[in-house]
């Protein structure tokens, strides 16, 4: 839809009163003032919890229900720090107590099994049904289990964890690392783009190396990558040379990196170059939007959910806002920071839409810190604006930690990484 409009038409549309209906902005509440203001949020992760909190904060007359099955949410951010022995699982655990008590969000511990888009209801696993005037969907990712032969959910839960959802998966991988012999081989197998947290696998390699260097220095890490290059590549490679010389090997997809099969019994991976045996094997499969997004028909052929970038309202089902990893948000990466930014933008838009007003044109932000060692941090930042092409990155802004950054800068970035985690956690669940 967006692509078919010229830039001039698009700007004109947004400035005129018809913008909303032409772009599907107003969705189901085309009538100016909604009589009831009930929002149901699916998923209490970075996107959903931020949306729920900010809906209540920006307009306390909105009744918000958050549906999330987990009583404790373990964040993927900083789960690599747990693997490196720098944080504990308690450090990355968050609950919904403050959202419930301080922000008076109705927390429902359940799973949404279906969405009735015409009736405006969601059905829960318990059988209960909730009605909404607007729905926010932030279910995160699901895995394409068949993207690697021999891999499956049960293999992930027993022998070869993905650890791309934090919680039991993090604990399993951590246990395997603790139990490994000195001189063992750790394999990390990241997927092709797009996937959750583009720098995540490389931060993981760094912090596992940090642990191994101290405790099992004869060990090695091999990254079998399905890609030809990766996020913050030069910064990571420089850091690895400085901190962990000879310990981390990265194989690009063309150089024997692409894993086609795994064998959980034999603990091997198969690439074009042959079969290799590992001691700990972390397989990160290809990804798609969370299941409920598919079941509700919110996804398109890409496997992600197309949205209107002003309000994150679905271009398929009006009245439903999809945020976070599940959405297709143009140039924005799939990160907790991005999900939170989108959650707040969606909340602000919903507040305006309930008032019969056009949402304010947002600007979206991302910063992803990666830790290579306790005093060695790097980052990538981006500011994103809305244009006729959708969400694009502003060329003049953003970018990486300079490749020649000195030790003071790297230490400062490591400190800011912790500062960021503290604040985004409080901004989302606190």
């Amino acid at each position: 839809m967006l692509q078919k409009l010229t830039r001039r038409d698009f700007n004109k549309l947004l400035l005129s009163g018809v913008a909303g209906s032409a772009l599907g902005l107003f969705g189901k509440s085309n009538t100016a003032f909604a009589s009831t203001k009930r929002v149901v949020v699916i998923g209490g992760g970075f996107g959903g919890a931020a949306a729920a909190k900010y809906l209540r904060k920006l307009d306390p007359s909105i009744a918000v229900t958050l549906v999330e099955p987990k009583a404790i949410f373990y964040t993927c951010p900083f789960s690599n720090w747990v693997l490196g022995g720098l944080k504990t699982m308690e450090d990355i655990a968050h609950t919904y107590t403050v959202l419930k008590n301080k922000y008076q969000i109705n927390i429902v511990s359940d799973v949404v099994t279906s969405i009735d888009v015409t009736k405006g209801t969601v059905k829960l696993k318990s059988g209960n049904v909730l009605s909404y005037d607007r729905l926010v969907v932030s279910p995160g990712i699901d895995f394409k289990w068949d993207s690697i032969g021999g891999y499956s959910e049960s293999v992930a839960n027993s022998k070869m964890p993905h650890s791309w959802h934090a919680g039991p998966q993090t604990i399993l991988l951590h246990k395997q690392l603790l139990g490994m012999r000195d001189g063992g081989n750790v394999f990390i197998c990241p997927p092709a783009n797009p996937f959750r947290c583009p720098p995540g696998p490389y931060e993981r390699a760094s912090l596992i190396a940090y642990y191994l260097k101290e405790h099992k220095p004869k060990s090695k890490i091999i990254i079998f990558d399905a890609k030809e290059n990766f996020s913050k590549q030069e910064l990571f490679k420089k850091g690895w040379e400085r901190l962990y010389p000879g310990m981390i090997e990265w194989r690009s997809s063309a150089m024997g990196g692409k894993v086609s099969r795994v064998d959980a019994g034999a603990m091997t991976v198969t690439t074009e170059f042959g079969v290799e045996k590992g001691d700990v094997i972390n397989v990160i499969p290809a990804q798609k939007a969370g299941k409920i997004a598919f079941d509700a028909g919110l996804t398109d052929a890409t496997g992600w959910c197309p949205i209107n970038p002003v309000s994150f309202e679905s271009t398929i089902h009006p009245g439903i806002h999809v945020i976070g990893d599940a959405s297709f948000a143009g140039a924005m990466p799939k990160s907790g920071f991005a999900a939170s930014s989108q959650g707040k933008v969606a909340a602000a838009a919903i507040v305006r839409l309930f008032q019969g007003k056009v949402p304010a044109a947002p600007s979206l932000v991302n910063t992803c810190y990666s830790l290579l060692a306790p005093k060695y941090g790097i980052s990538v930042a981006g500011v994103y604006k809305l244009t006729v092409e959708g969400i694009v990155e502003i060329k003049e802004a953003g970018g990486l930690t300079p490749i020649n950054a000195d030790d003071d800068q790297l230490r400062e970035e490591a400190l800011f990484a912790e500062g960021w985690y503290k604040n985004i956690s409080l901004d989302t669940w606190g």
């Binding site: 913008a19 900010y54 930014s341 947002p362 500011v383 502003i394 970035e413 503290k422 985004i424």
Partner: protein, 127 residues
């Protein structure tokens, strides 16, 4: 008084932005939002919706309402002038930062002013 002036400035910035939409950057809310800003005499100043939606991005690092719990500086409690000056210095590179200049470069001067005014207004409203 200072507050009223700040709001006037915001309205000016908004009308500029509406004119400036040829740049391809959307500022849809600019025109729509000019109404609430008229109510400058109310006790609690109304937020400029564009300033608000821009400022919400900042809280992921600086904390809800700009109140930071850790090493990252708080924005809360700072005056609009202080914040705008700081943001513009980050944008030009005059002030050293690890990441702030990478962010500040993503905003027009008018947008930086709206963000500064939003945080100053939050601090004022909480008093």
């Amino acid at each position: 008084m200072v507050l009223k002036l700040g709001i006037r400035l915001a309205v000016c910035a908004l009308s500029l932005m509406v004119i400036a939409t040829g740049s391809g950057i959307l500022s849809a809310a600019g025109r729509v939002s000019s109404k609430p800003e008229g109510q400058v005499h109310s006790q609690k100043a109304e937020f400029n919706p564009r300033g608000q939606v821009l400022a919400l991005s900042c809280t992921s690092c600086h904390g809800t309402d700009g109140k930071s719990a850790g090493i990252i500086p708080s924005i809360y409690g700072r005056s609009a002038v202080y914040l705008e000056t700081a943001l513009k210095a980050f944008k030009s590179g005059a002030r050293y930062s690890t990441v702030m200049s990478r962010h500040a470069k993503g905003y027009s001067d008018e947008e930086l002013r709206l963000i500064s005014e939003y945080f100053a207004m939050i601090s004022h409203n909480h008093k």
